[in-house]
Symmetry: C2
């Protein structure tokens, strides 16, 4: 079974649109964009489109590639301070000269729909946040929709990146499953992938997971986006033939991707509702 | 090789004593104690003794077993607010009626040597804290002392508790190893323990790990303290014969235990030094 993430994202879109209308206040997502690259451009386009559809304004703050960490932190603080910005996100990756986590920590949890600041991560890790990282929200939505229960399962997370592997590992540490978390220092993946009941991959390494490395009937969520070299297309971590061996397969494009965007906007609504209560 | 944690803790004690003297200001650890139980009494005694030896006062705030979450949070806030308290910890476990994480979140990171608040955990998870959770400090100290490198290794953490399993898993997620994290919902541990190069156990389940469940030459850190039923002695997760099959074994008593206490006091010094710089 191959999951149509676009369709799932559409469902969320419809209900979110109603929720935004019911809220009765203007919502705006501020996006801090430094320089540009293909993957982030693509996701930014999706965000603008989705925001437009559900009634959340998206304002992009475009900043130069050679900006310093201090200047960027100041610009970010300004965007966070503006009342009309309900949420603020930083489009990643940032250029090499920037201390990324220091920048992300400039976003207060109340305005952090991406949940990448240390404070948001801490609240999430201790079960005290009202929102959850968008990629976690996306995977949880898929699991609930298709009755995939992680309880007692061997769940493998491939990749330890900030956007996919880390938040998923943090989430799974709080679930009733065995968590196996691999990073680029694991030389041989096969002994781990072959034992996994569920594989969630966010390595950003095309073809990393081949069909002979997984057991028949495995559940696979491919969340590792990268540009394939010759033509610049976006591809996932799994060889396409992995889908044939899986009982359940979610490709990165048209799979997890659109859902992650939907969950980002759902977080904006969750945070806005919480702000209204304060 | 069986590690003598008491001896290692003595080494830290000597250097800490000098550091405290050099700091030239009075340090005090406030301990919030609600009711009492054997394991926490034992650790509290060790803390008082260690504090006395290095020159850090330990003040215990004894509170009644039937206290409410709100009253406890208020009492904690008072202790945090007192300037003379350089660090504040809450002796765990708390009685059932208490929302433990909400209480722990009343400690600001600057005064949180146990690093159990959401903020401290977030800073640690993103690599932005100057201190590290005491159990992580203890394990890291042992690994560095005996040249045990986790790089590329299969490292297994058994147990997902707040004091041992969770902080160690958070740490290992940031290291160059494969992390396998199990909790009480894993019905069969053996397939995981047999593949592990390094096992760190913090389940609090006596005899959970038997010698036929580990490979020869494994590195084992037993950090799972519990009371054994008939005589009330404190015991670890590993059957004592596991030590014979290990290349390296750290028992819970006289092993990790004393080092965790030493690392708690080291954190108080680290935090105090940071406070002086502010």
């Amino acid at each position: 079974m191959i999951i149509d993430g676009k369709k799932l994202a559409e469902e969320i879109k419809e209900s979110l649109k109603e929720e935004v209308a019911r809220l009765g206040k203007k919502l705006r997502l501020a996006v801090i964009q430094v320089g540009a690259n293909l993957v982030s451009e693509k996701f930014l386009e999706q965000k603008k489109k989705f925001g437009g559809a559900v009634g959340v304004d998206v304002r992009v703050y475009q900043l130069p590639e050679d900006i310093s960490t201090n200047t960027l932190r100041k610009k970010l603080a300004e965007a966070v301070h503006i009342k009309q910005n309900s949420g603020v996100i930083v489009q990643l990756p940032l250029p090499k000269q920037i201390q990324t986590q220091y920048i992300l920590d400039g976003i207060v949890p109340e305005k952090d729909p991406d949940m990448l600041s240390s404070k948001s991560i801490g609240l999430f890790a201790t079960g005290r946040s009202s929102a959850m990282p968008p990629v976690v929200g996306a995977v949880k939505y898929i699991f609930e929709k298709y009755n995939i229960d992680v309880k007692g399962k061997n769940v493998l997370v491939v990749g330890a990146g900030r956007l996919v592997g880390k938040p998923l590992a943090l989430w799974l540490l709080q679930q009733d499953c065995a968590l196996v978390a691999l990073n680029k220092h694991t030389s041989d993946l096969a002994p781990f992938t072959l034992n996994a009941d569920i594989i969630i991959s966010g390595a950003g390494a095309p073809g990393l997971i081949q069909p002979d490395m997984v057991k028949s009937g495995v559940v696979v969520i491919d969340a590792g986006t990268s540009e394939s070299a010759p033509n610049g297309h976006l591809v996932g971590d799994c060889d396409p033939r992995v889908a044939e061996k899986s009982s359940f397969f979610t490709p990165v494009l048209g799979g997890v991707g659109p859902l992650v965007v939907a969950k980002l906007f759902q977080n904006i609504v969750v945070l806005a509702r919480k702000q209204s209560k304060l």
